[in-house]
Every structure is written in structure tokens, then in C-alpha cells.
Homo-oligomer: 287 residues x 2
């Protein structure tokens, strides 16, 4: 796969992956790092643009083969602190794909109806269908992140959820879903800079919520909750990837590359016609 | 509004609108025509590109003002014969917007569950929320188009649906929805050319369904059903627009322009902060 500037090197997926069983240290992974690929913004933007056609073609083939009964599909799960770029990543990624083959879902605070169901209920309802690419801005991981940090449910309940998540994701994989889980890793300083930009620009102020500052005050607890979730739920079937996200151009390149590698691994193909092409052509031309 | 190349001319909306009460003749409206705006592909592509930033900004403001309680939103309904470019238009339009503020829905043949409900049920479930832009690829109009042409329900039942649709759309408008209904008008010859292209290109063949030829054989009945729907359901509250769609570049320019005109009429604005900006800034900088 020629997915980086060093075609013979290891895949980006293998570099960014949290190995099953690993206890990842987020403090040790640099949110501003460039672990592989382009070294500056100009090269990064160009490399990402160069991926767009390939990704569009892979998506079209994935969608096309589903029309012939193939069940495979892809789910991109995006998690990260406020301002880490989940929405921006969804925008970038979905801009490369045909929207009719994308299923985008942003998970907000659960509604009373959602709270009345098991925590995976609302997630199951938003999954991509065969041939589609699902894009989750937040996910069932909120139920072991904010739920843990804020004590929204007892610790014991949270503790049971990791295994339930792993079984849920294993079932998805068994059903033909390629699950790509990405933690957008930003630094404490970069979050401050981004929040200040929202405050200082009147056209961005509506994105700011003073409660974001309360969440920010719990930064260390969130980092610990993320480390725990990544440790418990990075599995062979559905591993986690940590993407350095302080630089938006690098984040977009890295997520695009992860998607390209996973779609290449599926290797989708246009299906053969299951009808008589010549007969249809004759019918069309006849009048 | 400077939405065409002749800023002082009438709006495109007024030119393409089916006047309430009018019995439109589709044979009389040229699918290859250029009723206003750019005269060739190069100019059209440039004019459409020039609209993209304005549309993105309008959408962001629409979304932003909804966070402060404004209920307004927009619904684009796309109808047209097979290959008329409904999917292509959704792709073009949604490519200009932030996907988190778009709600895209392609209506297929109704499921058994959908058939067990009133015909507007599945439509009501797919409507945009305040601040969102809804994009419908097909809609409740299928229930007076294919339903009529194919005799899926008795004529008498179809006849009652026009008024139900008008009342439904009036209620949407009363609730703050700007409804923009677009008929993508292509010619019999252009449909043949597009179907042939699908047949002749192995990477497009999966989009072809031999049953499309059966639908094509009913072309006159469909044109008549469209004329009837446009006549009965082009209202002051929610008029229909006929967009010449034989040229994709013109179609994209026309739909973009219709959207821009309708969004300008809403005139969305960034809301003022409902919190103490200085206090938040001080809190952010303090540590």
C-alpha cells in the first residue's frame, strides 16, 4: 500500500494503533507530533488532497458491491476532548465521499428516551448499512468517559461496560463492519488557544459554552478515563488509534490515511452486471 | 440580492417558480434551456463556485441562530425522473455545507413498516431540526407520482393526497421551515444518453437497473403525473421550481442560486453571547 511518502514503511495504522493489552500513556504521546508522513503543512495538505480521489473511488466501490449483496461497511468512531476537531474531521472526511453513502451521527447528551434504554441502544440505531461509511462524532465511549468522570452512573456499572462494548464491537466486526476508532489527541495548551479563538471571534462565539470550562477543569480525570478506555477496548477486532491533533492539517492527513488503509484492506470491487447488457442497450436505442 | 449575473434582474426563484394555480406544461419548458444566469459551462462552474462561500456562511449562521432558540430551517425537496441528477445535486449541495448541519434522506421504495403508516409518516421522521438544512432525494411526492402511474393505490386515494400534502407543507412553513421544491427537468433524449453511459461503463453498470427501462416506457404518464402534482401543490407557502437539468453545470448553478435566495430571505444572524465573555476569557488565561 502506497499510503505514505515512504511506500515501503510500516502502515500508519500500525504506527498509531494502541496494541491490544497495552496501557497507553497519553502524556507520552505528543499531540503535536508527526509520527509519519508529511513534515509540514504544505506537504500535508497536498498529500491529503492526493488521497481524496482514491478515497472517493474506494467508497463508490464499497457502495456498489453492497448493491450485489456484500455486507461490508466501515464505521469511523471519533472521540476527543472539546475542540479536538471531531466535527472538523467529519466535515473533511465526508467532503471526500458521496453523502448518499455516508451516515453521519453526532451524539449529544442522551435524551430521556435514550436514557431509558441500554446505553448501546442509540448507537445501534445509528450504524451504517452495508456499503455505507458511518461517521460517529462521539459514541458509546461517552458512556465510559463523561459517565465515569462525572459519576453519572456508579463506578461498578461503568466497569462492566468495557466488556459489553468489546462484545458489541466484535459482533459488528463479525457482521462485516470495519471499525476504526480514532482518539483525536490535543494538548491542554492547544485547547486553551482554540477556546480563546471562539471567545474572541463574534462569528465563533456561539460555539462556546461556559460549561466547556468546567469540563476543562477535569482534564486530568478525562485523560485517565481515556487511557482506561483505550487500554480496555483496544482489541484485535477493533483497535484504537491515537492521532496527534494539535495540527489540523496533520489530523486530516492521518485520518484520511487510516481510512484509505482500512478500505484498501476491504478491497471493494464493482459487481458484474446481473442482467443482459446487450438486450438493455438494444431496448434503449430502439426508441 | 446579488444572486445572478444581472443583479438588478428578477430573482431566479421568480423565474423558475410554478405560479400557484398555474397548470404547467413540461413540454413547453426546455430541459436544455438557460432561462437566466451563466451562458456556458465555464461561466456556470465559476458562478457556482463563487456561491459556495456565501452558502456556507448562510448555513453556519442558520445553525448558529438555532443554538439561541430560533426554529427556522430549510428543506430542499428534489424530484425528477431517473438519471435527472437528484443524487448528484445532493452531492453538490451538501459538499458546500457543513455535514453536521445537513440532514440528507434518500427515499426508496417504502418498507413494510412505512407502508403500514400514513404516507407522510416516513417523511415527518426525516425532517430537518431547527437550524438544519434538509435534503430530500425523492419525497412524499412519490406517493402521487409512482403511486398514480403504477396504480399502487386507488385513484381516489391519490386524489385526496394533494390536499393532505398542501396542509402538511403549510404546517411546516408555519413552524419555521422554508420549503424549496425542485423538479429536475430532463429530456427523453438526455435520459437515454445517461442510461447508455451507465450501461457502457463497467464502473457505472451497478447503477443500472433493467426496471429503469420499464419506468422509462411510462414517460408520458410520468410527465402528466408531474404536471398534475406541480399544478395541485405549487402553493404560496411552498411553491415548486422547475430547473432545466439536461446540463449538470446549469442545474448545480440554479439549485445553488435558489438556495442562496431562500437563505438570504431568512437572513440568519450569529446570536449574541448569553454569557460573560470577559469572565470566561479570564478563567481560561488564569491557568
Amino acid at each position: 500500500m502506497a499510503h505514505t511518502q515512504e511506500p515501503s514503511g510500516p502502515s500508519l495504522s500500525s504506527l498509531l494503533r494502541v496494541a491490544p493489552g497495552e496501557r497507553p500513556s497519553l502524556a507520552w504521546r505528543d499531540p503535536g507530533g508527526l509520527p509519519a508522513g508529511p513534515r509540514d503543512k504544505a506537504a500535508g495538505t497536498a498529500a491529503t488532497a492526493a488521497l481524496a480521489d482514491r478515497l472517493a473511488s474506494l467508497q463508490e466501490r464499497l457502495y456498489a458491491q453492497a448493491t450485489a449483496g456484500d455486507r461490508r461497511r466501515l464505521l469511523l468512531v471519533l472521540q476527543g476532548m472539546d475542540t479536538s476537531g471531531k466535527g472538523g474531521t467529519v466535515k473533511h472526511v465526508s467532503g471526500m465521499f458521496d453523502p448518499s453513502g455516508c451516515r453521519v451521527k453526532a451524539f449529544k447528551a442522551p435524551t430521556p428516551e435514550e436514557l431509558a434504554h441500554p446505553f448501546l441502544w442509540r448507537v445501534a440505531r445509528a450504524l451504517p448499512l452495508p456499503g455505507e461509511i458511518g461517521l460517529f462524532d462521539r459514541s458509546h465511549y461517552e458512556d465510559v468517559l463523561i459517565a465515569r468522570v462525572r459519576g453519572l452512573v456508579p463506578r461498578k456499572v461503568v466497569a462492566r461496560r468495557y466488556d459489553r462494548i468489546n462484545r458489541f464491537e466484535q459482533a459488528l466486526v463479525d457482521d462485516g463492519v470495519t471499525v476504526v476508532k480514532v482518539f483525536l489527541h490535543i494538548s491542554w495548551e492547544e485547547q486553551r488557544a482554540r477556546l480563546l479563538r471562539r471567545l474572541d471571534d463574534p462569528t465563533k462565539r456561539w460555539k462556546f459554552d461556559p460549561r466547556d470550562l468546567d469540563e476543562r477543569a477535569l482534564w486530568p480525570a478525562y485523560q485517565e478515563a481515556y487511557e482506561r478506555a483505550l487500554h480496555r477496548c483496544s482489541t484485535e477486532a477493533a483497535p484504537w488509534f491515537v492521532v496527534p491533533a494539535d495540527r489540523k492539517w496533520y489530523r486530516d492527513w492521518a485520518v484520511s490515511t487510516l481510512l484509505a488503509e482500512h478500505l484498501e484492506a476491504i478491497g471493494p470491487r464493482y459487481p458484474a452486471a446481473d442482467f443482459d447488457v446487450d438486450e438493455c442497450r438494444a431496448r434503449l436505442i430502439s426508441r
